[in-house]
Symmetry: C2
Subunit: 415 residues, 2 copies
């Protein structure tokens, strides 16, 4: 089945707003095995909407519009749809009751003008908007299915999940595609592809995409099957095979973030963690505490941005700073030991580096970062040379620290 | 002048990638007074590209495409353009030299296949790609200007700034619109609009948009004029007027972030700063250190996620924790005083709160946050009740802390 997406709103065209609805709808349709062949953004102008909508209804099996349903433009879009599909606007009692109760629940009488919200094209089905006022619409003509959805992402997403997908499944679209994510960090995209590509080509019914970001490469496997169960089995096997190939660069098969994985490992081991951050300024702590429940294992730590605080709050020795400089393996190690000692945490992680743009030297260029992990039975230290702007270097450093910690937690007896 | 944007790539339609190019190009054209009437995304398929491009060339004065110029699909897009505009592909010596030197600078000979990159439609001008390999193209037909740009945002943006905008200015498009941002935090969008709308309506040649995010509302003023100078004057006056209306909720007129503004104020006062973060876990420190040069005034601080660390590293009293609980004005104050005392910084800022999703009680619901600022001559404390998910609450708390600090720095003698 082919689908087209139409997003409506001047703000999508003049740069006020990035259209995220298209990507969302596209990803949901992909899982159902439908292919989006085109997406178009037009301003909230009846002629423009009608032209694009007419073409789409003649080209695709499924058409989904978002936007153009706000209180001021509501009737306009509905009129376009009604005219194009040759339908009258009629009063929908259920929508009327819903709009009325929306006002009554606030102790207000429904203003006359809101009657129009309950007018929908004859034969259309209204889709309840649990999070806003304007209902969505479902219409069909000559085998083409048209969904008219609001533009506000949360309202639109809710309708897609609770109505659009179940409806399309009822029409025979099946989740014949299953997706798996194999998440890696620390290995460049080209190396990941070099390892995975030869094998991926031989995997039946499987497409591979590499999603590279500043902090790692996710291998996305899209697996099809004759049935949902078969697609699932294919996907499980493919993910397992790819994870094997990539070895310990893989931190998760699934949606888990690296901080979640580190959290599981700490919880399972019953160990606590403290951080000492210099150049990252708190990024590592922020990421660890994005995991709800992280207070079970994360006690906190020190942002030792200045050398004074490295000494005062972490006990880094003046001699070490003087001899090796703040960005050094030795200082990272003393920071990790220091934060562990002062917080009584089981694990200490420390980051010190030069994020730039200034402050680089030939021996210690911008992007040089030292990371250390310290625990009762051992320690690990690594030197990294990251590329990118200030925040990219810092984000990469936080990611590398989480990964070094992950490796330490998986092998707590080694050094 | 009307413009159309065409973004090319399957990944834009299947949900792998959000299209940010359209918004970027749209915002740049807006400043030149051009209106984007439509944007279309199509997969990397010659027939789809040709159909959309042909229509756009017949409807708009300016057409800008992005994407579909990668090493594998390069020729395809160029062939579509050449066929549609009835041109031969010819060798461009300058492009050839540039591609060749790209390889030679890496000590490599240029592979035969890359010769094709130097083939461009007859009469087209190649646009140098300083950040990648595929050049952009400029073609004209019957008064319509076509730019063919790469899809990688940094490469595309660079060409827009250094080539597309100057070219269009040369063609008589002028920066007849000037934009100003008036940035506020702590006031809901509806209140900002209520204050600004009545005045904005009377401002000549000025459009107003409210850009609301989790951490504040930016008032965007788009001002036109008969000349660039007039537009600038109009914009300056409008920004001044709006900033007056909004009073001390305004932290910047311009692009500056709140952490930059706080940085200026600290630098100007010659004062240093330390943070004590509980629920934000390092977010405040991260934001402060996003400003390059922040080491001049930011010394660091403590992430006191556990109560133990609040006592151990900040000297918060056991009695205070027991009597008022960790999320209280009293604990926030002791944290701010404590971090200031232990780091010898001039200003201490502390955050303690319940970010959720668990941990709320009727007296201390999720979203309750106490923030304190402490300095030699005074202190400030505020209680906030934030809405939103865990990370939204934490992001809002960090923003509120920066804003409380800003207010303290502007009135250092008051309490």
């Amino acid at each position: 089945m082919n689908a087209e997406i139409i997003t409506i709103g001047r703000e999508l065209l003049d740069g006020s707003l990035v259209d995220t609805n298209t990507a969302y709808v596209g990803s949901r349709l992909r899982v159902l095995g439908a292919t989006v062949t085109r997406s178009t953004s037009v301003p909230d102008d009846p002629r423009a909407i009608e032209e694009v909508l007419a073409r789409a209804m003649n080209s695709a099996d499924i058409v989904i519009t978002t936007g153009g349903l706000g209180p001021t433009s509501d009737d306009r879009t509905k009129h376009v749809v009604a005219r194009l599909l040759d339908r009258q606007l009629v009063l929908d009692e259920e929508v009327l009751a819903s709009v009325r109760s929306h006002f009554e629940s606030q102790g207000l009488a429904m203003p006359e003008i809101n009657l129009s919200q309950a007018m929908i094209p004859e034969g259309a089905r209204a889709i309840d908007n649990a999070l806003g006022t304007a209902p969505g619409l479902l219409l069909e003509r000559g085998g083409v299915i048209l969904f008219v959805l609001p533009g506000v992402p949360v309202e639109m997403k809710r309708m897609v999940e609770t109505y659009v997908i179940p409806f399309l499944e009822g029409r025979g679209l099946k989740r014949l595609a299953e997706e798996r994510l194999v998440r890696t960090t620390g290995v460049p995209e080209s190396e990941v592809a070099e390892l995975v590509d030869p094998v991926a080509k031989r995997l039946a019914r499987t497409d591979v995409a590499y999603l590279a970001s500043a902090t790692g490469v996710d291998v996305l496997l899209i697996c099809r099957g004759e049935s949902a169960a078969q697609a699932r089995r294919t996907a499980d096997r493919a993910a397992e095979r790819v994870a094997e190939l990539l070895g310990d660069a893989v931190y998760a098969t699934g949606e888990d973030s690296l901080e979640q994985v580190v959290g599981y490992l700490l919880s399972m081991a019953g160990k606590s963690l403290a951080v000492a951050e210099s150049c990252t300024g708190g990024r590592l702590g922020w990421r660890l505490t994005r995991v709800s429940g992280s207070s079970e294992y994360f006690v906190g730590g020190v942002i030792s941005y200045s050398n004074e605080l490295k000494k005062k709050l972490l006990g880094v020795k003046t001699g070490t700073l003087r001899k090796h400089g703040a960005v050094s393996a030795e200082v990272a190690e003393e920071m990790a030991d220091g934060v562990r000692a002062r917080t009584k945490a089981d694990y200490g992680v420390a980051i010190t580096g030069t994020a730039g743009p200034g402050g680089g030297t030939p021996e210690k260029p911008v992007g040089l970062v030292h990371i250390a992990v310290s625990w009762e039975r051992g320690s690990r230290g690594e030197r990294y040379q990251f590329r990118g702007g200030r925040d990219t270097v810092r984000e990469r450093a936080a990611q590398a620290a989480l990964d070094l910690l992950r490796r330490a937690l998986m092998n707590p007896r080694g050094t």
